[in-house]
Symmetry: C2
Subunit: 297 residues, 2 copies
């Protein structure tokens, strides 16, 4: 009999729960808003219990979650959300709580590490061992696969919070509560909204907001290219739904690298193979949670 897996993409705005046996066989899916930990986790448990009644026992649960997370398997708080700015959620047990309540093994990683994994298995980076997945939306975060392993070290990558040079014509003071003018503080969805007084979804494609947005994102990509040496950088998230943004970022990245790194993909002709959209659309995170449950990390 095929194994049935529990799948959870735990986002700061919504939780997406699903069950399935593989990426081509998702049997059920449900989403609900992220409210308090008590309410949200009860609803999650409830969902998986209903699914077990209907489809049979789960073999494992995979969780891709917002963070920061404790991913140290030796730690007493493994699988906890640690000190998050999200009210009420600091020090919340996610993985061990769900694992113990359901009586199934749980695997957890950041939502973006999970997305990077899924894109390397079934998406735009299939077969690659070194790739970066970045989401640009309410926040900016990234997951990294390096040498075939998802990066965990002191903690896990937090790609959105690197400090950047502000462009001379940008008077916006940045809105990251920790760093002001880090990438997230300058280029997240809320930063666009606050700088221009209009959300990105309502700014026309030729508005100067996009040139500036592409500039800051390209600065991030310049830094990740040099630090992480990925074979591909995949850009997802709500802001990237603006399709005119991707070619702008590609061109600006090449300019910022200044020809220092020589590689056939780092050319105007082939940059689209290096910086691209997710192959799994908006489902990289959910598919990544499935991959974790399947033990493919």
């Amino acid at each position: 009999m095929e194994k049935l897996f529990g799948i959870l993409e735990a986002g700061g705005t919504k939780f997406i729960c699903a069950v399935g046996t593989g990426p081509g066989d998702i049997r059920d899916e449900e989403r609900f808003p992220t409210t308090t930990p008590d309410e949200t986790l009860s609803r999650t448990l409830d969902y998986f219990r209903r699914m077990e009644n209907r489809h049979g026992k789960l073999s494992a649960l995979g969780i891709g979650s917002f963070g920061p997370l404790d991913l140290n398997p030796q730690s007493a708080t493994w699988g906890f959300i640690t000190a998050t700015p999200k009210p009420g959620w600091s020090n919340t047990s996610l993985a061990s709580f769900l694992s113990e309540s359901l009586g199934v093994p749980a695997f957890i990683d950041t939502d973006v590490n999970a997305a990077a994994l899924a894109e390397s298995l079934w998406g735009a980076g299939t077969g690659l061992k070194n790739l970066v997945y970045v989401t640009v939306g309410t926040g900016i975060g990234g997951g990294v696969l390096s040498g075939g392993n998802l990066i965990h070290g002191l903690v896990h990558p937090e790609l959105g919070h690197i400090l950047l040079p502000k462009r001379g014509d940008d008077a916006f003071e940045g809105n990251c509560p920790f760093h002001r003018t880090c990438l997230e503080g300058l280029a997240s969805g809320p930063a666009i909204q606050k700088r221009w007084g209009i959300g990105g979804g309502n700014l026309p494609p030729h508005h100067p907001a996009w040139d500036l947005e592409a500039h800051y994102l390209a600065l991030g990509l310049q830094s990740w290219t040099l630090s992480l040496s990925p074979e591909k950088i995949i850009l997802g998230g709500g802001v990237m739904a603006q399709e005119h943004l991707l070619p702008l970022i590609q061109t600006k990245l090449l300019k910022l690298l200044g020809g220092y790194i020589q590689h056939p993909l780092l050319t105007q002709e082939r940059i689209g193979e290096y910086v691209c959209a997710p192959g799994l659309g908006t489902r990289s995170g959910l598919m990544g949670a499935l991959a974790l449950a399947m033990g493919l990390h």
Copy 2:
């Protein structure tokens, strides 16, 4: 009989050649200036041939080299120095030339990746699987061990060339020919010399040069901490011989991280365990080349 290894640290200024059976048993060592590729590689071959006459056949050769390097084992130019700004050295075969001439297998990586490996085996990061080694000298470069593997992806890390915000009181225009105000352009030894008109070795410890230098290096460390999530960052190279610099960098890094990443080492009490000097002093690169020869990568 113990295996004898050939060891080469190929630097842009000098080559260091050695033979030995392990880190505690270096049998001979010689250094000479890096001139033309022909002359320098002849001298290198000559050295290892003399050593074979004296000590017997080498089992393998390990090379830590300046770069950029082609480290793709599938490439026809594997082990070549690729497009380096160093005159005459672009497209120089290092690993296969020496391997074929000596009739021994050769292993090659960047000098800084080699140094990171050695520090994880026998130095300040013994036992760690995630660490960064950075050299601050004529240039700024870094090697990265992630999940126990040296990072190779599209190419290899080039940590010194990330773009940084210039500090408001710094009028220096930066001296990186590729990026002007990247970390190397703002904080390498030659950048200090050019900005202040005096080399770092002749600037007193309380000179404002050091506060600025620590600021830029801390910005680099902030970025690497967030992108690479290492368990330790080891700072070597000629500029770091100024011992008053390390505590300044440690304090400034904590300030720049702004409490966003929570970890016991990221505190004023324990930051010295996270950012520290090499355990192998100035020999991390050479010991790394030995580790490559020994197949410990």
